[in-house]
Symmetry: C2
Subunit: 262 residues, 2 copies
């Protein structure tokens, strides 16, 4: 049975300050927890229904001592989900590698003030799909360890690293010649661009776009053409959601590299 | 000043049953409300700060009689947003055209049980960007007029039509030869496909994918290749978010058609 103190402790981890203080975060649901168990991330605790613990015995191998059976009612008390999903685990925040260890020979995402946890999680999930391993985030981006971010990654939090750091500083530290792609609302068409393997793709805030202070760093502005409006140039959406723009550009870059065997 | 009854009425419109009863829905924030004012959708009421009403006098032309100045405090009482944004309007639900009037000569989206309002709104916004005018939704999709859906469309609700109807029925009613594209987790690669102008793109539920009962209708299965993992076929995200998969496929289809001048 969960003690009052444990419930209080887990609930406190919904707040960034306490996650940092305790170097721990919440991972919820079957998909995310199994990804956690298969990763190198420290597992601090697993709270699950008896059925789940039995069904996932293999995945828990070596970690059983941290697992505790709880009831659906208890799960509801600690869950952040509208419909709690059988299991909730606590994971340990691991020290990030310094910026110097980032592999600038491959594509990197740079997120400028992404505030919505769903967008952040979706960007991480998309990055994982397209084999992007490093994301640099301006310090005012939503916290990677926010339960809603972790949830929206659908397990990809276990494979993608987010580095919170001043973007101007980190972009300046990229090797000379690294192209800096910026998703803008005008400029050269995405479909006309020829991409190389390395590069930093800069994605702007949901409502304000890329900060004025970062615009000068962009060497290759990119505009996703609003195809499908014929010759009339009819009225259409003013912009795309940040996670959608990111996905379309990542797709195009990775597609070109695969076709050109880079 | 807003009467208690008005506040109660507006709050009731957060619930589908009352939206249907009153044939009205909430549109919030500067971006969405200006799109509403520029559309043919009936505007039933506009509640805004005095500053907003003055700044948007031109947009309100002909609709001033429906506009009422309210305080930020009053706005908070009726708003669905964490940070209310100057204006909230009520719009009238308009009768949908029957299925027969849908233009099957152009790309149509078919959403199978999309439940998340943010995903639904983002899909509508992306459709608008790529000039897709009609979306058919299974009856268990989240309601188009849900305030969170309207909000996530960023104004595109005013240009894209969603038809709630049995998908098997409506797909069967498409002209013979209409390709039915289905986003699956395996199958022919998106990048190998040659698209034509017409078609129905079937997008599945966030966790369960496309319903088993609809799979047989798919004439052209599509798999978005998880590029960027080299030859090692390393472990990566198991799937993409529904709105992301939709966007990447729409982009590829519209790009091909533009390149081939179809």
């Amino acid at each position: 049975m969960l003690s009052k103190n444990t419930i209080k402790y887990i609930q406190s981890l919904k707040i960034k300050k306490y996650r940092q203080q305790n170097q721990a975060y919440i991972v919820e649901g079957e998909k995310c927890v199994t990804e956690l168990l298969h990763s190198n991330i420290p597992v601090l605790a697993v709270y699950a229904t008896m059925n789940w613990l039995e069904a996932y015995e293999n995945d828990l191998r070596g970690k059983q001592s941290k697992a505790e059976a709880i009831t659906e009612d208890e799960l509801r008390k600690i869950s952040d989900l509208t419909t709690p999903n059988k299991v909730l685990a606590l994971a340990g925040i691991t020290e990030y590698e310094p910026l110097q260890t980032i592999d600038f020979s491959d594509l990197i995402l740079a997120l400028d003030s992404i505030r919505d946890p769903g967008n952040m999680g979706t960007i991480i999930r998309t990055a994982d799909w397209f084999g992007i391993r490093n994301i640099i985030c301006s310090p005012d981006c939503v916290d990677f360890y926010n339960p809603k971010v972790i949830q929206s990654t659908m397990g990809s939090f276990a494979r993608v690293k987010a580095h919170y750091i001043d973007l101007a500083y980190s972009i300046s530290n990229a090797p000379t010649g690294t192209p800096i792609y910026g998703a803008l609302l005008e400029g050269p068409l995405l479909t006309d661009k020829k991409f190389q393997k390395s590069g930093i793709l800069l994605i702007g805030n949901e409502s304000k776009g890329i900060s004025n202070s970062l615009i000068p760093f962009i060497t290759d502005p990119i505009y996703i053409p609003p195809f499908g409006h014929g010759h009339q140039n009819s009225y259409h959406a003013e912009s795309l959601n940040a996670s959608i723009a990111n996905a379309i550009i990542c797709y195009e870059i990775r597609k070109q590299l695969t076709e050109n065997k880079l």
